[in-house]
Symmetry: C2
């Protein structure tokens, strides 16, 4: 079966990637400007944080996307979905890791994904406070700061138990359902965990700085750029579950990184 | 009872802090130079990583410390202890988070502590790859990038369960003894964990970016600057256990950060 994305030429894919990179630049400038002017921070109904920078950056990206790519819809954390029927959809989280951002920890990032007929076509994760950016596009490879990413698999003997695994905190496992035992099983079997709690986990899994990583019950905008980044780097991406949350829409659990490790973690978390 | 450190004048303490900052500058330059020339990475007998930058930086700091402060001993990760009888001891880890450093994650740091009669007198944690440095000295306050750190306590009602807690990975809890159940209890009770796995956890606890943090069975050089940073910021530091490891010498477990949270975590982990 032909992949629907192959209907697009390399030039078309390249043009979309160019838009994605430009939107990420715009996000970075907007966040800088709002931060310099003085940030306001408040708590949303679901108790998560939002800042004036999140809102300003998402508005700026939406306005620019509408001008550059009027044929595309947008799905974003702060202002919902526009044009859900469009073939192309921007899936954006201007500040993923708002709590880290508000705390002054430089681990947050901007996620700009582009989906074509529900499949990831291009993706950028920018870490402005680390001066580091990853991008990828369909059949065009994945890059971190201009360097091509090539993920090696584990040896055929499989995981040793020392692999570096990125995970959300246990909070994510008990937020919408009681899956805390999955986190506990993961920590017992693969104890060398990292919890950065932002998309730094995702870029680290795409670059091999982590051997694998996962998200648990995460909305689409948290994962908008991850699959294309990891798959174009030669890694595997497995969706473990999908459900519909009344306010967030679809939330997914997924594991991604070196293929044999992804299979082992998927078996552990699905079992 | 008078604190032995009060025998030193503010000018003496200031001079020692100046030396600590200069040693941290030297470390940063040495690591930059070795990295630019091309890093070599190998595995030590205990399976932990060491790079040519760790060794070069510790040698540079030892040489400079011997010249600047001949009256002081040095305890470091790579080259052991010199002059254990000295009143002043430099306690240094040139690259804390070597695994993160080798993986290209910017979360590692340089730890420079100065102890006087076994009590912390001054401390610097430098994060070169984040462009961020914390320092503190006895009765002189704690600072992050020149800004005074002042930790507020939790309200008298105590922890809500949403506090942000920095911890080492579960690997640390099972490395020398089977204390994995302590990690599991922590994750269940205070699920909003972060695992940076380096001294970024410590500077985050001193600045309030994390509400509290802990180390588990960590050698002295991992904790050489932490207590003075946290206490001078107005936080609490509690040692939970000390034991002697045949190769590492003393290893300690400790919790530090906002005082009421430190007490709650200490009760949880000691219980």
């Amino acid at each position: 079966m032909r992949d629907p994305r192959d209907a697009l030429s390399a030039a078309q894919v390249g043009a979309w990637l160019g838009h994605a990179l430009a939107l990420s630049d715009l996000c970075r400038r907007t966040i800088e400007q709002v931060s310099a002017a003085g940030l306001s921070v408040e708590r949303k109904a679901d108790r998560s944080l939002v800042t004036s920078a999140d809102r300003a950056a998402e508005q700026a990206v939406r306005a620019s996307a509408a001008e550059r790519t009027p044929e595309a819809g947008v799905l974003g954390e702060e202002f919902g979905q526009s044009r859900p029927e469009a073939e192309f959809t921007w899936v954006i989280d201007p500040i993923d890791g708002t709590a880290e951002f508000a705390a002054g920890l430089p681990l947050w990032g901007t996620i700009i994904g582009l989906w074509y007929r529900g499949l990831p076509l291009a993706g950028v994760i920018d870490h402005p406070a680390l001066g580091r950016r990853a991008h990828a596009a369909w059949r065009a490879g994945a890059y971190l700061d201009g360097q091509r990413l090539v993920l090696e698999d584990l040896p055929a003997t499989g995981p040793s138990g020392t692999e570096r695994i990125g995970t959300p905190s246990r909070t994510a496992f008990v937020k919408f359902r009681d899956a805390g035992a999955r986190f506990d099983a993961l920590a017992r079997t693969l104890p060398n965990l990292r919890i950065f709690h932002t998309c730094l986990t995702h870029t680290s899994a795409a670059s091999g700085a982590l051997d694998a990583a996962l998200e648990w019950d995460a909305p689409d905008w948290d994962l908008g750029a991850t699959r294309i980044l990891v798959e174009e780097a030669g890694g595997a991406y497995r969706t473990l579950s999908e459900r519909v949350h009344p306010e967030l829409g679809r939330v997914s659990s997924a594991v991604f990184g070196r293929p044999r490790l992804v299979e082992a973690i998927a078996a552990l978390l699905e079992g």
